[in-house]
């Protein structure tokens, strides 16, 4: 019983948790090799075999999905076509610049079809646009957190004179501490270097 308690106690330390999680997840992944896996051929938004469009010499390979600019929609196999009124228009659209590049060379398909218009844009902005909104919100939140931390903690605060004055006072009052700390950190660094070289 006491050993069970000790075992349980290991779960209570935050530092162990990511490693525990990785272990559990890794063990679960082994199950992925044991079950039968196969790709269901009936997928949404299927794409042709790689390089067939390139070999056929289509100028906007590998993203040619049919349709004509502003006159006929392209092909999109969406989940709920009834929910998207102008389905297929975006992947047939090409901005004027893209159109110009298309006539120059057959090797710029990717850039042409990722400038506004194209299948990926159709999926990203239209049929699954809500996903993209979320993705970009995740992005925004992560950057807000990072920039907040950077401004307030980790960056050089040249413009925040108040803060710096406070810090300087603190530093002066604790200069002996500082000395010790610097020394110690150097010692640590040295030890670490030694460990690395060993």
């Amino acid at each position: 019983m006491p050993s069970l308690g000790k075992f349980w106690n290991k779960f209570a330390k935050p530092k162990n948790i990511p490693r525990l999680f990785a272990l559990v997840l890794g063990l679960l992944l082994i199950a992925g090799f044991l079950i039968p896996t196969a790709l269901n051929p009936d997928q949404l938004y299927p794409r042709p075999t790689p390089q067939t469009q390139m070999d056929a010499g289509l100028s906007i390979a590998p993203y040619d999905r049919g349709g004509e600019i502003l006159s006929a929609p392209g092909i999109t196999k969406a989940q709920y076509p009834e929910n998207s009124a102008s389905l297929g228009w975006i992947n047939s659209y090409m901005s004027p610049v893209a159109d110009a590049i298309q006539s120059i060379s057959p090797y710029f398909g990717t850039s042409i079809y990722s400038s506004p218009g194209g299948l990926i844009d159709e999926i990203l902005y239209y049929t699954r646009g809500f996903d993209t909104i979320l993705e970009s919100s995740i992005l925004m939140m992560a950057f807000i957190i990072a920039s907040w931390l950077a401004i307030n903690f980790t960056m050089d605060r040249k413009n925040d004179e108040e803060e710096i004055r406070k810090d300087v006072k603190l530093a002066i009052s604790q200069s002996s501490n500082v000395e010790n700390a610097v020394e110690e950190s150097n010692r640590k660094a040295r030890k670490r270097q030694a460990r690395r070289e060993r």
């Binding site: 308690g5 349980w8 779960f11 209570a12």
Partner: protein
């Protein structure tokens, strides 16, 4: 009958019956520990008393929240009565109510600024794991009966016999949850006496009244859920006897067990849950 009247009556029944059961629980514990113990009606009197006491607020509290949380607590348990005994609705909603209960527990602890409340709040997060048995139970009930609606579950039981016969380990798991929620339980880390009264420490007066009101409804609903899910359509007398029995059993258990340390409490609940889930799945498959 009028729906509103139905709800009102059921809430009152839940409150009064829950209070009496909690009083009985305390009495049983006292008798096991060879004390006379307070009268059974004492818990109810306490709850009523608090409604007439003066309210005071800590200077450090997080203001609208500190009050709002108790109102929400009472609100969710009234919803619990509506979903459970009145409408016999989805088990998922009851599960959601338990989740919110956890949050309220958590937050009424932290909103006061008291260190005891804070500890209780952190422990509430720890013991979120205690909800895992409930989730497993309703999952297993769903797998067995094919529906989450309590009315459907009752109908299934009247056709196929009570569920306690077919999935007894799930019943044990839910019983462990009842044990967790009962006062002075070995698992009740959020209200352990080492942190005074846990999350309720700083709530006085009407606010405390609301909390006690909700606690009695919560206890009643949990017992009701247990009896309904596993013993099928039983009569009122059956409910009364069942509730009293469970209360007595939990009282005896709580009286003779010490409180576990938070981490051990969580992990032992999880262990019970895992063992019971594995056992039930094996039984279902076999």
């Amino acid at each position: 009958m009028n729906l509103m009247a139905d709800i009102l009556i059921n809430v009152i029944i839940a409150f009064l019956a829950g209070s009496l059961l909690l009083g009985l629980h305390r009495k049983v514990m006292a008798r096991v520990q060879l004390r006379p113990g307070p009268p059974i009606v004492q818990y109810l009197l306490h709850s009523l008393k608090f409604f007439f006491k003066e309210v005071s607020f800590p200077k450090t509290a997080s203001m609208p929240f500190y009050i709002g949380i108790t109102v929400i607590l009472a609100g969710i348990w009234v919803t619990g009565v509506i979903v459970g005994p009145v409408a016999k609705g989805s088990l998922m909603i009851l599960f959601g109510i338990y989740a919110i209960f956890k949050i309220v527990e958590h937050n009424s602890g932290s909103s006061s600024g008291s260190p005891y409340g804070k500890l209780s709040c952190v422990r509430a997060v720890f013991s979120a794991a205690g909800e895992l048995p409930l989730f497993a139970v309703i999952g297993l009930v769903f797998l067995k009966t094919g529906s989450m609606n309590i009315a459907d579950v009752i109908a299934y039981q009247s056709a196929h016999g009570p569920l306690i016969m077919s999935i007894p380990l799930a019943a044990i798991m839910l019983f462990a949850l009842i044990l967790t929620k009962s006062p002075y339980s070995p698992f009740a880390i959020t209200k352990g006496k080492d942190i005074v009264s846990g999350f309720e420490t700083e709530h006085y007066g009407v606010l405390r009244g609301y909390i006690m009101f909700s606690e009695s409804i919560a206890f009643y609903i949990l017992l009701w859920l247990f009896l309904t899910l596993f013993f099928g359509p039983i009569s009122v007398v059956g409910y009364v006897i069942g509730m009293i029995l469970i209360t007595i059993i939990t009282g005896v258990i709580n009286a003779i067990t010490p409180m576990l340390n938070p981490n051990h409490s969580v992990m032992s609940q999880i262990t019970i849950a895992i063992v019971c889930i594995a056992g039930t799945v094996l039984m279902l498959v076999a």
